[in-house]
Symmetry: C2
Subunit: 495 residues, 2 copies
């Protein structure tokens, strides 16, 4: 766990760091040659891509290479933040073949192959924390997990409607009717494959980091184009948006301690109800003494899990951290079952550090982590304690589906995927405005999507000539994909 990690995201408006001299990157994760790009080149952002660890936008290493549909990719590494690049990326063509379980495990599978059953494209961004190890592993692994998961169900994916039995033989005459009633479509198999692939990749990362004595975690944002649909799977705080002439549509939502507050609070149980509502407890009558247990008795004891907090944290949320002066006062709070707020009388245990503390970009889980979903972090503990973070984290992504065939796509309709550093500084609307002002004037430029990705990053660096003119600055690593959607319904249909 490298120093400086707990300040992974700088405060906006914080001091501008002095530039540091470039340092050589040294990744302790063994490098694996990426095998999933068309041809033999490495993907953008994979471990061997040339990088300049300074604070200026760099040209994408993939410039001029055969990125699918000339998608643009750019990245920036903030040397002040870390000596390693914690952002990693991967993209390439996905070739899904029909396979028997365990049969072709050892073969190359993502090279362009003539016998494929289905062809798609894959883009992924990983934003690491605690070092780049998990992000590098994810960039090297997740596409393989996804390929395996898709190949396991590919007969169902290419069917008009997935059959109840993968063999296609009905055991029961009414099976197609049940599938119809449940509304199960081919896209549900792709969603399921993405969900399982993230989980599988998380397990692989856990094993590999443990075996090599490393630590760290990363967020993951993946886009997959398959059969005329774009699937966006997100676990973390990166973001993808669709930008069209008259529309900006979010394709993902962020998973942070704030957005997942209720899920996280719920893990540590049903407690303190008697403290919250003292008027319900009257110790005089025998019935009344049983009241606080009613709720507990009817819920699985499993949910009362204060051990996870080791007595060091309070599950409740307050507007700020409480202090001695607040004791005995009625202050605003909320618990896991509440979307609204109420008041409670402050007790000594409420003065502990909050399970989720801080606001917006500063919100932290257990004072440690700014995201609530992602890959890795199996060994992560709160500083100087034995309190684990992993029980509170989910590796499963939220998947949204964009039906591109229904959209009447225009030449300048794009998806912008970027890590959080971009979105800290630019809103969806500002990014859309930059896209719309850039693309129409550069129709002849074969690298215009790449130039756009670089321009987006450039506008986060607070230059006078930044197109927003607002001079906001990001000190985070930033990676951006700009993916043109035009004409891809046909091209992605490899079947």
């Amino acid at each position: 766990m490298s120093a400086g990690w707990f300040r992974r995201r700088f405060l906006p408006g914080g001091p501008l760091p002095a530039p540091r001299p470039p340092r050589p990157r040294a990744s302790p994760v063994p490098y694996r040659r990426p095998r999933f790009l068309r041809g033999s080149g490495s993907g953008p952002g994979t471990a061997d891509a040339p990088r300049r660890p300074d604070a200026r936008p760099v040209r994408s290493p993939a410039r001029g290479r055969a990125l699918p549909w000339n998608a643009g990719y750019a990245e920036i590494i903030n040397a002040e933040k870390s000596e390693f690049n914690e952002d990693q990326a991967a993209c390439g063509q996905l070739c899904i073949r029909r396979c028997e379980f365990g049969a072709e495990e050892d073969q190359e599978w993502l090279a362009l192959c003539s016998e494929e059953l289905l062809t798609g494209h894959y883009w992924a961004l990983f934003d690491g924390h605690g070092g780049p190890a998990a992000a590098i592993l994810a960039a090297n692994t997740l596409h393989s997990c996804l390929r395996r998961q898709l190949e396991a169900v590919v007969e169902g994916v290419v069917a008009a409607r997935p059959p109840m039995h993968l063999s296609g033989h009905c055991v029961c005459a009414s099976d197609p009717q049940f599938v119809e009633e449940k509304g199960i479509r081919a896209e549900d198999l792709v969603i399921g494959a993405l969900e399982s692939a993230f989980q599988e990749c998380d397990e692989v990362i856990g094993r590999e980091l443990e075996a090599s004595g490393q630590v760290g975690g990363c967020t993951a944002l993946v886009a997959v184009s398959l059969q005329g649909k774009l699937y966006v799977a997100n676990a973390g705080d990166s973001r993808a948006i669709l930008v069209r002439k008259d529309e900006v549509r979010p394709l993902s939502s962020e998973f942070t301690p704030e957005t997942e507050r209720q899920r996280i609070q719920q893990l540590v149980g049903v407690l303190q109800r008697e403290a919250v509502e003292p008027q319900l407890v009257s110790p005089q009558s025998p019935e009344a003494t049983r009241e606080p247990d009613l709720c507990l008795a009817s819920l699985p004891k499993a949910f009362v899990y204060p051990e996870l907090l080791a007595g060091e944290f309070t599950r409740l949320e307050f507007p700020r951290r409480l202090k001695g002066d607040d004791l005995g006062q009625k202050v605003l709070f909320r618990d896991h079952h509440m979307r609204g707020w109420s008041y409670k009388c402050v007790e000594k245990s409420d003065l502990k550090y909050p399970l989720i503390h801080g606001q917006g970009r500063q919100a932290r889980l257990l004072g440690t982590l700014a995201v609530s979903r992602g890959l890795g972090d199996h060994q992560l503990r709160v500083l100087d304690t034995n309190i684990q973070l992993k029980p509170f984290l989910l590796s499963v992504p939220q998947v949204t589906v964009l039906d591109m065939d229904q959209l009447e796509l225009q030449e300048e309709d794009v998806v912008v995927m970027a890590t959080d550093g971009l979105w800290d500084v630019l809103s969806n609307e500002q990014v859309a405005q930059l896209v719309r002002s850039f693309l129409p004037g550069n129709r002849e430029d074969p690298h215009r999507f790449l130039e756009l990705a670089q321009m987006l990053i450039h506008s986060t660096q607070g230059k006078d000539d930044g197109p927003t003119g607002e001079g906001q600055v990001s000190y985070d690593d930033i990676s951006v994909f700009v993916i043109p959607l035009h004409n891809q319904g046909q091209r992605s249909d490899g079947h």
Copy 2:
């Protein structure tokens, strides 16, 4: 647990039951005089309201009484379903006074009072199952719980912005800034009060049913008009919609075993991963044998809670219940982490009865219950077993807020609240169409909202002259409120 309960909702298209002679209603719950209606009349649907236990719409008992803003209420009792009316309702004026904890507990509080700090209106529908006991208790109790919860925070509700400390004395100079940053508004206190009131009422029902040796549960749908906002709190499968000239807006969503599948499956843990993905487990290598534990070790053991199913049910969802012929086949399934679907090889344990089984209106939790949120059911067990339902149920509602002051309300803008029987037969759009075709032609009728509520119920009875002309039939109890919204911003502002 009364017989016939497991068929609480009839199959659409099922046989039309022969009419039964009316039976006297006998409620084993002691009747309490409702104290929350303007004047001394009883509310519609409370325990002493006159009822005709036949299958025809009845005139609302509240006709001509001073329902707030002439809201219309109608109900129907289907004698074939149960000899008791399992639908209960309550409505009245809410007068919130400033009070010290425990000071005025014994006083009448909902009579029209001049010293109130805040006045609002309250409507509630409760759809019981397993008998009417829980629904009657809820109709007699929930408004009191809500009043107590609101009075405990009323100083914050009437403030421009809730203070960090209820006393109003800042302990820390930056407290208002923290409240501002968290975005805490007065309406969040009302939401919190509704959430806590449902939980408190659930506890009261648990105690009262246990003390009287009764059983049962109910759904709860509550609308509260306060300070120009309409709060709709829902726990169960009733529904409220806003109908305007050019808009139909759902104000609630339903909580059923289907809509809460992932939450319910998650309760019984992280299991069977090794069975789902056998290719990940290779017992030859020492590392591999530890794989299935990786996931379990990193999650709280608390989540692995198969005891709740007592070995009788399977957590996994399949398109239909599996049988012996499916053994060894790869069939469609999904687990708690999946919104999508995948295939798994069927094992013997998959042949157990599913935790959630059935489709749409027929979906049941543990083969027993059609709803996943509500009040009561503390003693409910799966027939002939010791398996409890309560650990899977939530009493906390989802609350939506309608800012009426922002709406430029017209005279015929209404909210329609109804139990599930109405929505089984009529869509939101069909109800809106009936509202729009009825109200403009009856502007002079002082009882037009009542007539509309009756007409809505009438159109579920499959009459030729039903306005939808489709002849669909509901055999369920149905209760409907029609609440006109016009001019109420001013009237509800009692402060």
